[in-house]
């Protein structure tokens, strides 16, 4: 394309760009058919429909308390859920819902000891099995790790932790919220449900130019070059923009216990009087880190590998970012098959 053609294509590209941006809310995400198995408060347990369940042990997907779990099922042809179903897994998903002020008393104990524990129970009841695989991503991974530590001989046979903060003391977040100047109690008390938009804004501020300029420039350039990035861009943009509030108690505990006091690796987190000792994790463990992850950098996850008692421990360190690792264009051909292979070998009777 020469300079004149580029100039001639500018009006079309501008209109197309505007249309892509303006119609983001219309993008269809989370489209794989599923059934509601169980609900409690805002939490819902889904089971994805499948006609080819080949592996006995079901997979329970657990996402973070920020953003929505639709990232597991972004769009047709690019959905991790769809991939797992094709691979013959029985897939469940726990959705924390959209908390509001009335959920301000929900702390990490409520999420792990009630909601996650009961979701595990309901998953087993629904499929008639006695064990399952837990797959947690980001904060969801931390919740799964805590759960495994509290129930080392429980129903979890395999635990997969994706880009999971365990020792975030060296992270940029710790520099932002770990110091005394950041009064997390004040923020938690005044908000009751910490707005997701604020957390999203902070996430984007970690790479301000990339998130606020480069993304849009690349989209425009792709359209100008004759590409069709509509589907992929809109699905991701819709997911990124859907940010539910963070219950204030859980927020306070998350920031204080992990970023201010780094209690998890030191074994000083207590949930309902039970000490969370990561050394008690005995499940088969797969830890996945992303080399370019600025939210949960690998060095904040790998300490877990030395702490756990599991005999079967695998660590995959792959190129990619916090979300791009699992939801990027290469994930389908790179990390997803690796996860499926690992699970397949450990999902038989």
């Amino acid at each position: 394309m020469n300079a004149i053609e580029t100039l001639a294509g500018l009006p079309r590209a501008t209109f197309e760009f505007a249309n892509v941006i303006l119609t983001i809310p219309d993008a269809a995400i989370g489209q794989t058919p599923r059934d509601v198995v169980w609900t409690h408060r805002g939490t819902t347990l889904y089971r994805y429909r499948s006609s080819r369940r080949e592996h006995a042990i079901p997979v329970l997907l657990v996402f973070a308390l920020i953003n929505r779990p639709e990232i597991f099922d972004l769009r047709r042809g690019s959905s991790f859920v769809e991939f797992l179903l094709t691979e013959g897994f029985d897939v469940f998903l726990v959705d924390w819902g959209i908390p509001d002020e009335e959920d301000s008393e929900m702390g990490l104990a409520e999420f792990v000891c009630d909601e996650l524990h009961w979701a595990v129970r309901e998953t087993l009841r629904a499929c008639g099995e006695e064990e399952l695989s837990l797959l947690g991503w980001c904060i969801g991974g931390t919740l799964c790790a805590i759960y495994c530590a509290l129930h080392p001989t429980g129903a979890v046979r395999n635990a997969v932790l994706l880009t999971t903060p365990i020792d975030p003391s060296g992270s940029l977040y710790a520099r932002w919220v770990g110091h005394d100047e950041f009064d997390v109690d004040l923020v938690a008390e005044r908000y009751r449900a910490v707005p997701g938009t604020g957390i999203d804004w902070a996430n984007k501020l970690m790479k301000p130019v990339t998130n606020y300029t480069t993304t849009y420039r690349r989209l425009f350039q792709s359209i100008l070059d004759g590409g069709d990035p509509r589907l992929s861009y809109q699905a991701m943009a819709k997911w990124v923009g859907d940010t539910p509030p963070f219950p204030s108690r859980a927020y306070r505990e998350w920031i204080t216990w992990l970023y201010k006091e780094n209690r998890l690796v030191a074994g000083r987190v207590r949930l309902r009087s039970d000490r969370v000792d990561l050394a008690r994790i005995e499940q088969n463990l797969l830890v996945v880190t992303a080399g370019a992850d600025h939210i949960a950098p690998p060095e904040g996850t790998v300490p877990l590998l030395d702490l756990v008692s599991s005999e079967d421990v695998t660590h995959l360190d792959r190129p990619g970012g916090h979300i791009g690792l699992m939801a990027g264009s290469k994930a389908k051909h790179e990390i997803w098959p690796e996860l499926a292979d690992w699970l397949r070998d450990r999902s038989g009777h």
């Binding site: 409690h40 009961w118 129970r121 009841r125 300029t213």
Partner: protein
């Protein structure tokens, strides 16, 4: 041919822009990683939280004086409902546990909890709902 392509003015402009953007991105990332930026962010978060709370409390006060339910009232009611739901969930789990025990006992005897042979195997699944 490749050399001719990179010599074109539009390609050069694009490359220059990308270089500038990349350098700016790096500079901003260094800026936000400074402790002083963290302090600034902390103060901003506290100020915004305080303003939001004052606005919310004021709006609630206005609504309450108009004898209308405000956010605080709705939240209080929702919490009461949550408490009831928690109790019901725990009760349901106990009932299911007992039902499973009965089913297991009955199946060991070759009958079902309700007395009909073979029905014990149907006792486990429950509450699968219609698609959302």
């Amino acid at each position: 041919m490749a050399g001719a392509s990179t010599d074109r003015p539009d390609t050069q402009v694009r490359e220059l822009y990308e270089q500038a953007e990349s350098r700016t991105a790096q500079a901003f990332e260094e800026l936000v990683s400074k402790p002083s930026f963290g302090v600034l962010l902390a103060r901003s978060a506290e100020n915004v939280a305080a303003i939001a709370r004052i606005g919310s409390d004021f709006a609630d006060l206005v609504l309450r004086n108009l004898r209308l339910a405000g956010r605080a009232d709705v939240t209080r009611l929702a919490r009461q409902l949550h408490g009831t739901e928690d109790k019901l969930e725990r009760l349901l789990q106990e009932v299911e546990k007992l039902r499973d025990e009965l089913a297991r006992g009955a199946s060991a005897n070759g009958t079902s909890a309700d007395g009909s042979p073979g029905a014990a195997a149907d006792a486990l699944p429950r509450r699968t709902r219609e698609p959302s």
